[in-house]
């Protein structure tokens, strides 16, 4: 085992992440305005920005889903129970005792088990909920005539959309906060900017990368193994 500086986030994944940051921020701000929580923007322009941003994000998600499956990256997001208890115990207890984060990022597994479970939930439930309800909300005129009490059903759609938005807002709070735990904020954010992170490689992985994908290894910044 050796600790090497490896490119873990390819360009598309970083682009995906930061574009989501921007688009979701815009959606949250305009969405809160549309919900009547603030009046920073007039309603009409806010609807337009919210709609265009949402459609852009949907397009990005379609690309990302394609990318996840063609590159095999989707495996990174499959949740596993193994190690989850240790990570949970760390956030609830160990972190206060100055313990090290129990999870060691692996080449084939860049998320800790809690992270993977969270992203799994987001990708399979919360995000589909928000864009599903969002599309129903946007396309109200297409289905209102087909059912009775369409106004009531629209309010259900709107409330589910709102609930999903609040869950995402809560996720963002925790997501950003946890960057400060363990290795520290900067070292957590840096890989998502540069793409490179220090991870443990087995001799086989190291040999494979050096032979087949040398550009994914950054020799200069490599530090001695612990």
């Amino acid at each position: 085992m050796s600790r090497r500086c490896v490119k873990v986030y390819p360009v598309f994944e970083r682009f995906w992440h930061w574009t989501q940051v921007l688009l979701i921020t815009i959606l949250l701000i305009t969405g809160m305005g549309l919900h009547g929580m603030h009046h920073l923007l007039p309603f009409g322009p806010a609807v337009m920005i919210h709609t265009i941003t949402a459609l852009t994000l949907l397009a990005l998600w379609i690309f990302a889903t394609f990318w996840l499956f063609t590159t095999g990256t989707w495996k990174q997001f499959i949740p596993r129970i193994e190690g989850m208890i240790e990570v949970a115990r760390f956030y609830a207890w160990g972190v206060f005792r100055g313990e090290k984060h129990p999870y060691k990022k692996l080449f084939w597994r860049k998320h800790n088990p809690l992270q993977a479970a969270t992203y799994f939930g987001l990708k399979w439930f919360v995000f589909p909920a928000i864009w599903g309800t969002g599309l129903l909300y946007l396309g109200y005129a297409l289905w209102e005539d087909a059912i009775a009490d369409s106004s009531w059903w629209l309010s259900v759609v709107a409330n589910l959309h709102l609930l999903a938005a609040y869950v995402i807002a809560a996720f963002i709070i925790v997501h950003v906060y946890l960057l400060t735990v363990g290795h520290g904020f900067r070292s957590h954010v840096r890989p998502m900017v540069t793409g490179y992170d220090e991870i443990e490689l087995t001799a086989e992985q190291e040999a494979y990368l050096e032979t087949n994908e040398p550009e994914r290894l950054r020799h200069a910044r490599a530090t001695p193994a612990e």
Binding site: L34, H35, G36, G44, V47, M48, L154, N159, V174, V181
Partner: protein, 546 residues
């Protein structure tokens, strides 16, 4: 003089144009002005005489327009009667009671001053049936000087005009030149319709709120269709006529329609926005698509008439008849506490009529409306413990044809039979009777006389009841850029915040799910803060481990 100067100009321009003729024929001399109409009425023999009465003019008209009188006499302008097709109720001015001057019966010659005929002096009888009882000039005079006397059953003021005589618009009357009027006739202009319809309820814009003298020459902001800077429409551009009957009714309003829109000038029989603009009138942009999503819920008027009583003329919004009859030193008096934007003082009290309130640039109220209006006619029992709706708007969010429509809500307090619990007819006008309210200020006598004139049963005891009367707002359409902004309604205190049957995003930021969501976010924040606090107190900040 004019033909010569025209000729001179023609010769001059021909001379100038000749050298250029090879390149351009556009600068050819102007053709002589052709009359738009095929008939110059001043050249018609039957009209080249001194007329001494309105009916005499009508007699001359129908020597050529042989069916016009028959058509006109079948139209609501003449019958003042309308059978509501869905409720079967008999409505029309001849029958209904409103919250303004109340009723026609017993007040005939004053009210029928705006009848499109001559000499209807008894509401218990149909209007006079002779051909010459139709008033052609009130709609077709284009000389601008034809009018009707305010209290003479539809007849015009003729020389010599008695001092103090008023016209239907409240102006000092002048002697009408009937010959000039007869020779001027043409299709109705805004003034022909407006001289009656702008002054309903006894004064400028008193009744409707969206029909006032501001529409004679409206600015573009006041009415984009009627303004000379807009489409320059006359009323009949939308209110198309067929056999002297006009499209448009406030007893049976066309709220929604399914068929394709018509190009201007194409035959159609309905006065609605969608008749020309279709039901998806907004541009094919993202915003346009979103706005078109609204048209199956909202009447166009709801957004495109942001306020009524625009253009500087206020409308009466409150009328308390119970205060009428107060005298000072035995004499009627008035107060003028409302100041219109042009500085004009309007009555806030009249001994004859009671207390008034006025509004200018007034916000409508909004209600689901399928166009059908029911009236609390004087034969209906009312619940006097509640505010009585003089007219009842039909509409249902789920019926697929109702739309949210803007209304002027007139608040009133008017007389009713306190034993039989019915609205009453009141004899208000009658300068020579000893029972008319406006002359004698005696309610019991005025009601008794009114009920007698209407042939209605009366217990003899009366009181006053609060009333609402709704006036659909449909005129004074603003230019698109002056339409309501989204947040006029999509806001917690928006215009439709009390309207049931519609889900309006942005109106309720504190619903159950919103509170749950906020609690979730607050709990998350609290958890994070607690986590931070423990990390600080335990002295281990979880810093970099490298």
């Amino acid at each position: 003089m004019r033909p010569y100067s025209l000729l001179g100009a023609a010769v001059l321009s021909l001379g100038l144009a000749l050298p250029l003729l090879a390149q351009s024929t556009a600068e050819a001399p102007e053709a002589p002005q052709l009359s738009k109409s095929t008939t110059d009425h001043s050249k018609l023999k039957p009209l080249q005489k001194q007329f001494t009465s309105g009916p005499e003019v009508t007699a001359a008209c129908i020597t050529c327009h042989t069916e016009a009188d028959d058509q006109a006499m079948h139209a609501i302008h003449f019958t003042w009667e309308f059978t509501q097709p869905e409720t079967g109720q008999m409505l029309g001015k001849r029958h209904v009671v409103n919250s303004f001057c109340g009723n026609v019966a017993g007040n005939e010659a004053r009210c029928t001053s705006c009848h499109a005929g001559y000499g209807w002096e008894d509401m218990s009888q149909p209007p006079p049936q002779q051909s010459t009882a139709v008033d052609c000039l009130v709609c077709h005079d284009r000389s601008g000087q034809y009018t009707k006397t305010a209290d003479d059953a539809g007849f015009p003021p003729l020389a010599p005009v008695a001092k103090g005589t008023k016209t239907i618009t409240g102006a000092d009357a002048w002697p009408v030149d009937l010959t000039k009027a007869a020779q001027s006739v043409g299709m109705p202009g805004r003034d022909n319709c407006g001289n009656c319809h702008f002054y309903g309820g006894g004064g400028d814009n008193v009744k409707h709120g969206d029909l006032s003298s501001a529409l004679y020459e409206p600015a573009r902001e006041v009415d984009v269709h009627m303004s000379a800077d807009g489409a320059n429409f006359t009323c009949s551009a939308c209110h198309v006529a067929d056999r002297h009957s006009w499209a448009g009714s406030r007893y049976a309003v066309t709220v929604s329609r399914e068929d394709a829109p018509h190009k201007p000038g194409a035959p159609r029989d309905i006065a609605s926005c969608e008749s020309c603009h279709s039901s998806d009138p907004h541009p094919a942009s993202l915003m346009g698509l979103k706005l078109n999503d609204h048209t199956d819920t909202l009447a166009c008027q709801s957004c495109h008439i942001p306020e009524f009583a625009r253009g500087g003329v206020a409308t009466k919004t409150f009328w308390d008849w119970s205060q009428a009859g107060k005298l000072k030193d035995g004499k009627p008096y008035h107060e003028e506490d409302f100041i219109q934007s042009d500085g004009k003082h309007l009555h806030s009290y009249l001994s004859t009529k009671g207390d008034f309130k006025w509004e200018e640039n007034a916000k409508p109220i909004y209600a689901w409306f399928d166009g059908q209006v029911e009236y609390t006619t004087a034969d209906r029992t009312i619940d006097s413990t509640k505010t009585v709706e003089v007219n009842i708007l039909h509409g249902d969010p789920e019926d697929g044809r109702s739309r949210i429509w803007p209304f002027k809500r007139m608040e009133g307090r008017q007389a009713y039979d306190s034993e039989l619990n019915r609205l009453v007819y009141t004899h208000v006008w009658g300068p020579t009777t000893d029972t008319a309210l406006w002359t004698n200020f005696d309610w019991p006598k005025a009601i008794e006389a009114g009920m007698k004139a209407a042939g209605a049963e009366y217990s003899g005891s009366y009181d006053f009841v609060d009333t609402y009367m709704y006036w659909p707002i449909t005129h004074m359409v603003a230019p698109a850029e002056k339409a309501l902004e989204c947040e006029s309604c999509h806001a917690p205190d928006g215009r439709m915040s009390n309207l049931a049957g519609v889900f309006l995003p942005g109106t309720n930021p504190n619903g159950l799910i919103a509170i749950l969501g906020k609690l979730l976010v607050l709990a998350t924040l609290a958890g994070v803060l607690a986590h931070i606090a423990i990390r600080i107190f335990s002295g281990k900040k979880g810093g970099p481990d490298v």
